[in-house]
């Protein structure tokens, strides 16, 4: 099983993430166990996915609309967002929308081209689990969470921006 970071701990990951085959097709046979499926597979095989014994999660690619799963969130144990490239920052907004607009409270996972230098801002945007890019050492990567001790802005993990927190502590 793969190793991931979850809630700032290095843990083994019970989930298997399915991807579409090269032609864009999904496997006809759904594997056993806990699976995280692409949005397209969820949309096309929803009933079958709900009927099988394992748990189910969904993952969004960086161009996909989180609003499309807003009504389905109760069915998922995990929602993942893919970062296809290091510099593709769309997922940061998707994370915030899932947390702040659509009320997702469960595991929010960042997958794809993730290295330790992303971890703090990702957790600021609501992600609490991270499947690092191959070759990244999760234990060393934990240092990425504490690079900055403060942030000026409002974030998912600290909704009050610094200016409001300063105000509260002054009064």
């Amino acid at each position: 099983m793969a190793i991931i970071i979850k809630d700032r701990n290095v843990v083994t990951d019970p989930w298997q993430r399915l991807e579409a085959a090269a032609g864009g097709n999904f496997p006809a046979e759904l594997p056993a166990g806990d699976i995280i499926v692409p949005l397209g597979l969820w949309q096309s095989r929803r009933e079958a996915l709900l009927a099988r014994p394992g748990r189910v999660g969904v993952w969004l690619d960086s161009h996909e609309e989180p609003g499309l799963i807003a009504g389905d969130l109760r069915h998922f144990e995990v929602v993942a967002v893919n970062f296809p490239k290091f510099g593709d920052g769309r997922g940061f907004s998707i994370g915030r929308l899932l947390r702040e607009r659509y009320g997702w409270k469960g595991e929010l996972r960042a997958v794809g081209d993730i290295i330790r230098d992303h971890l703090l801002f990702l957790s600021n945007c609501g992600f609490n689990s991270f499947a690092l890019r191959d070759g990244e050492d999760p234990q060393e990567a934990l240092a990425g969470f504490t690079v900055f001790s403060e942030s000026y802005q409002s974030s998912v993990d600290r909704p009050l921006p610094l200016f409001r927190r300063r105000q509260a502590s002054a009064s």
Binding site: G87, I115, F148, E150, S154, P161, Q167
Partner: protein, 571 residues
């Protein structure tokens, strides 16, 4: 000037530690070149033609004398004894060693400076009017808002990996000296009838490959909503801006492709969720930042200094300098002074370490210990007593910073160009110098009057050629350096009835050696056509159009046709 509090300082210190670690990982092979690139870029570190280039942030152009001394120290210790002021009010060092950059950043942090987000696909340095706080036509002091925006845009967790760079400019005066309409977001501070502050927000302006003037999204955004509205604009951009093509990734392209109307509606929908939320600004938050600014302490002076007036009348050299390089001040008896970094033979914006130290001393003695950098790449002493102007002039002359050319043709804006920059198609500095040498007669230059001449070595337009009254752009033709000339650009509403605009190319490009002749021909047309000395070059271009200028440079329509036929036949 804004003074850091403990948290501001801590964040900058933590950034130094972070970058030191990233550099260590890169040098030990744990971080690939591809992974390190975006990380070093967001610390202003480029790998250039000959060496790395480090761009240090000068937030909204404000420097203390202590900071300027520190920059001099850095130039001497880690570079070759000089620096270059950029059009984003920053400073660049062209010769640092990669492994020593963390030490430079640590040195900067000791004087509340950094290189955060001076490059890369994130928010860049917020720029503003170099006369903010002292201008007579001020509506709102933009400095406080710039600092609030600096904080909002620094390490923004959601918007640190945007499709492309993002530039914001703020103007707080009647005349727009910050080119706000040519920024990704332009903010013009205003007051309503009751004196409440708000912002006219324009979105989607910019220079570069596709120069566009921004669209007004909000005529008067009450200040409380500044951050939530900008968050909404940025979220739409971050989610839908193009990431497949670097040349189409700026927000201006998204605004254009979606149409400003549709984009604006999308922003409104997004804003409806954010408006009134925790990022809504409070009076206390604004006051807190305001109170952390040290302010100049002015003497109570009765008004204009009589001795100054007498010297102006008796010393023509001083008067010529004062006419161009001294600017009105809102406090009686004071003036702002521009130190021209545009002396012929010196690359525009360049300054030596010794000059930095001397300017810092001048600031301490005559201008409350502060210096500003203008986007025209000059330095400003913003708070000089009129009675000190004469001695400041003499000292500026000794420094080589008293060329009386502010606003004139030889006050050329130019990027470092092909001499330094690996992006450039062509050199900029020798072109600037050739033009300055051609226009070396000061009386002639003063007679030509106000004229912005801007040079960029490539389409990225760091030299702002699009908004030059005359713009020069270096282009590559089969491996040779050529130059395209445009006329009619304007950086912003610097006077009534003269809005921001993008210049139009007059025709085929020229070899480097021909540029001074071409510029002289353009000036010749202007001098013949102007109705009075009040009418500037740009006014004449707007009044009579480009055709007479083209005709002088390329010949009449018939001659141009002939030439085209000949070159077609030859091909």
């Amino acid at each position: 000037m804004y003074q850091y509090d403990e948290i501001d300082q801590k964040l900058v210190d933590e950034r130094v530690a972070q970058f030191r670690d990233q550099t260590r990982r890169f040098l030990s092979g744990k971080l690939s070149e591809d992974d390190f690139r975006p990380l070093r870029l967001r610390n202003g570190l480029y790998i250039q033609r000959y060496a790395p280039m480090l761009r240090v942030a000068i937030p909204y152009g404000q420097l203390s004398s202590r900071q300027l001394h520190a920059l001099a120290h850095i130039a001497r210790t880690w570079d070759r004894g000089y620096g270059h002021f950029s059009t984003r009010q920053n400073i660049q060092f062209n010769w640092p060693r990669l492994e020593e950059v963390p030490d430079i950043l640590a040195e900067l942090a000791t004087v509340q400076m950094h290189a955060i987000q001076t490059s890369g696909n994130s928010f860049r340095n917020i720029t503003t009017d170099h006369f903010a706080g002292v201008a007579r036509d001020e509506i709102v002091d933009s400095l406080v808002w710039c600092e609030l925006l600096r904080q909002w845009s620094t390490f923004h967790p959601e918007f640190s990996y945007l499709p492309r760079k993002f530039k914001i400019a703020v103007s707080g005066a009647t005349a727009d000296r910050a080119a706000v309409f040519l920024h990704d977001i332009g903010l013009q501070a205003l007051r309503d009838a009751s004196g409440n502050i708000g912002f006219r927000v324009s979105v989607g302006g910019g220079m570069g490959r596709t120069p566009l003037v921004g669209h007004v999204f909000q005529e008067f955004l009450p200040w409380q909503h500044l951050f939530t509205y900008l968050d909404a604009v940025l979220r739409v951009y971050n989610r839908y801006g193009r990431r497949d093509n670097i040349h189409k990734a700026r927000i201006k392209i998204l605004v254009k492709e979606r149409t400003p109307e549709r984009f604006r509606k999308e922003v409104e929908v997004e804003w409806a969720h954010l408006k009134g939320g925790p990022s809504t600004l409070t009076e206390e938050a604004v006051r807190r930042v305001e109170e952390r600014f040290t302010r100049p302490v002015y003497a109570q002076l009765p008004g204009d200094d009589p001795d100054h007036a007498a010297r102006l009348a008796s010393e023509p050299g001083f008067a010529a300098w004062a006419k161009r390089n001294v600017h009105p001040h809102k406090v009686p008896g004071y003036a702002a002074v521009t130190l021209s970094l545009k002396k012929t033979g010196v690359p525009p914006g360049d300054i030596t370490a010794d000059q930095m130290d001397t300017v810092a001393d001048l600031a301490d003695t005559y201008s409350q210990g502060e210096v500003r950098v203008s986007h025209e790449q000059n330095l400003i002493l913003a708070d000089v007593r009129q009675s000190d102007l004469h001695v400041v002039w003499q000292k500026a002359k000794a420094l080589g910073f008293a060329t009386p050319n502010i606003g004139l043709i030889t006050n050329i804006i130019a990027c470092p160009g092909g001499d330094f920059c690996s992006l450039a198609n062509a050199k900029s500095i020798p072109v600037a110098e050739a033009i300055q040498r051609r226009f070396d007669d000061l009386d002639y230059v003063h007679d030509i009057g106000e004229l912005d001449l801007n040079i960029s070595g490539c389409m990225n337009s760091c030299g702002h050629h699009h908004v030059g009254h005359i713009g020069i752009l270096g282009v590559d033709k089969n491996g040779e350096e050529w130059y395209q000339i445009s006329i009619g650009g304007n950086q912003g509403l610097t006077r009534p009835g003269a809005p921001a605009g993008v210049g139009k190319v007059i025709g085929p490009s020229f070899a480097q050696g021909d540029i001074p002749d071409v510029i002289e021909k353009l000036i010749g047309v202007y001098l013949e056509q102007r109705e009075s000395e009040v009418e500037r070059f740009i006014d004449v271009v707007w009044r009579i159009g480009a055709e007479p200028f083209k005709k002088r440079v390329y010949g009449d329509h018939h001659q141009r046709q002939e030439r085209r036929n000949r070159s077609l036949a030859a091909a």
